[in-house]
């Protein structure tokens, strides 16, 4: 891992060792061509195409798709438009989910990583076990937890009842319980993913720094505060931004576990955008929503980036 990091920092500035004898000519472009074709068709062009769509009254089922300028964007800010309430309701749902899940998914996996980073027998087995839910995918964990959280038949309420706690909580249909469920399931599902990234980051912190801290008589906490945290900073930044992006992308959990219940309170922005664009086929409006959400995420990412840079 250290090698890879070193490689990224030196690789770009290193002089080119094996200069080609003939000019490179077309060869590099030929190697790039197949990927470039896919990249342009399914990433670059769609990103621009989506922007174009958002400027039209683009109904998939109608032949005419009139240009409407910024109308689709304006509608999202005008309280009399039919999409206003639903859109902001869904943005609020995504916001609530992100605000509660991101701190947990940043802190809890770090704790797990610190535990698993110590040397003891069987640590790779425990690491694999904690990571395992992640490989199952959202559809499996969605239907599984829909069952476990079933208010009447689910194992969660049965277990709570067995130890004398309330046993009829409406985990999938009541508030705030639906949020507790969605956040809890997501933490359970993706905790191992972030933990593995942290472990790689911890292993990149030079041992000498810990030895030096010991010589200086630093305790466990001081060591964590002055060696571990600063050493993890780039990884921490990645985990925070990646987790914010993943949380704002939340779809499957709510689609399968709460289905937006109780009403549309847990219908996330992505669920609403997908319904509006790919079920009701109002693609112009849906595309505008997706760009607005992207803009919001961009701002949040930039603020996060700033915070990490100035926090010295």
């Amino acid at each position: 891992m250290v090698d890879v990091l070193a490689e990224t920092t030196t690789g770009t500035s290193a002089p080119v060792a094996a200069a080609p004898r003939r000019g490179p000519g077309l060869t590099p472009y030929l190697f790039l061509a197949p990927y470039a074709l896919l990249f342009v068709t399914f990433t670059l062009a769609p990103a621009a195409y989506g922007l174009w769509i958002s400027l039209h009254d683009w109904d998939y089922l109608l032949p005419g798709k009139p240009f409407v300028g910024l109308d689709n964007y304006q509608a999202l800010f005008s309280s009399t438009s039919p999409v206003f309430d639903f859109f902001w309701q869904s943005m609020q749902a995504t916001g609530i989910f992100t605000v509660f899940s991101v701190p947990l998914l940043v802190v809890v996996p770090l704790g797990i990583a610190l535990i698993l980073n110590r040397s003891f027998k069987g640590r790779t087995v425990f690491r694999a076990v904690y990571f395992a839910p992640y490989v199952l995918g959202v559809a499996v964990i969605g239907v599984l937890w829909r069952f476990l959280l079933d208010p009447n038949l689910g194992a969660v309420n049965a277990l709570l009842g067995a130890i004398g706690l309330p046993d009829s909580t409406a985990w999938t249909t009541g508030l705030p319980w639906a949020w507790v469920s969605l956040v809890g399931v997501t933490v359970w599902w993706t905790l191992g993913f972030n933990a593995v990234i942290y472990i790689a980051g911890l292993q990149d912190i030079p041992r000498e720094l810990y030895d030096a801290a010991k010589v200086d008589g630093a305790g466990r906490w001081a060591e964590f505060r002055h060696v571990t945290l600063p050493g993890l900073r780039p990884v921490l930044l990645f985990v925070v931004i990646n987790t914010i992006l993943a949380s704002s992308n939340m779809f499957g959990q709510a689609y399968l576990i709460t289905q937006g219940a109780p009403g549309v309170e847990t219908r996330t922005a992505i669920m609403y955008i997908a319904e509006e664009g790919l079920r009701s086929y109002r693609m112009g409006s849906a595309a505008a929503m997706s760009y607005l959400l992207t803009l919001a995420l961009l701002l949040i990412s930039m603020v996060t980036f700033r915070l990490f840079r100035t926090k010295d």
């Binding site: 891992m1 395992a132 191992g192 959400l293």
Partner: protein, 275 residues
């Protein structure tokens, strides 16, 4: 570690393990219960009369819930995409790691920048792209667009750059051309990285949910994730059947995880370095 502390340590770690394992075990146990027993309150711990009834039900599910077909579709889509990713990403990554050409930095920066584009922005325009290509409601829609992901190129470029140049230089002296160097020197040296990428690409595709939910329409063309959603809708509280479906969707990835754990965890670890 002292003996007592050691015991406390392993008790804590095992207790935590239970939190991750128990739900999956419960899924398997329930899939062998009768619908009646699965709705009993409080639930029975082990099936009292274990039955494969749930599996029989979904395998004879007919045209509305052809689980076997979904399984096959998932396998085809995930394998197809993994192979496509390996082919296109390795070639592009080789050019970006080892060749000099105009626009190289800009091209690489552009590819990396798209790693931060949220995927939902591309869903609607890509739906229209796939529609134009005539791929809606077909496996092509699940195999090809996802292969444009930047991760493979980024990941393999890093790996290729870490390879020593001596072997390539020797091959050049022997008169090998770029394609020969790529296929005879670089690729054989990169087997672990290629395996990692293949496994990650397979898993990502196998587990993808939102895209197949919206681009596939006929039950016969579904993969397992959207299939599970209709299974949940069709069997509501017949949980043994739903859990049997979930088990069928889980077993291949769990086996893959046990076999290729090292590669998966390696791939995930590396993804953190892109930040």
């Amino acid at each position: 570690m002292g003996r007592v502390r050691g015991i406390a340590w392993y008790t804590m770690l095992s207790g935590l393990s239970l939190v991750f394992i128990a739900p999956v075990v419960w899924m398997l146990i329930t899939s062998f219960k009768t619908p009646d027993e699965a709705t009993r309150v409080p639930p029975t711990l082990l099936p009292q009369s274990p039955t494969t009834g749930a599996y029989d039900t979904i395998f004879s599910g007919g045209s509305q819930t052809p689980v076997l077909r979904w399984f096959l579709n998932s396998m085809l889509a995930a394998t197809g995409q993994a192979l496509l990713v390996l082919a296109v990403a390795s070639m592009a990554a080789y050019a970006l790691a080892r060749m000099e050409f105009r626009g190289k930095r800009a091209i690489f920066a552009l590819i990396i920048a798209t790693m931060f584009v949220p995927s939902f922005v591309l869903i609607i325009p890509n739906f229209l792209m796939v529609d134009r290509l005539g791929w809606l409601d077909s496996l092509w829609a699940l195999i090809v667009p996802g292969a444009a992901s930047a991760f493979g190129v980024f990941f393999l470029r890093q790996f290729f750059q870490s390879l020593p140049r001596e072997l390539e230089e020797a091959a050049v002296l022997e008169g090998a051309n770029s394609w020969q160097i790529f296929t005879k020197v670089i690729l054989p040296l990169s087997k672990p990285a290629l395996a990692t990428l293949a496994v990650i690409a397979f898993l990502t595709n196998w587990n993808d949910f939102i895209w197949p939910v919206y681009v596939l329409f006929s039950p016969g063309n579904f993969t397992l994730p959207p299939g599970l959603a209709i299974l949940q809708g069709a069997y509501t509280i017949n949980y043994p059947v739903i859990m049997a479906g979930a088990a069928i969707a889980s077993i291949p990835v769990l086996i893959l995880f046990v076999i290729a754990q090292r590669y998966i965890i390696e791939g995930v670890s590396r993804s953190g370095l892109k930040g």
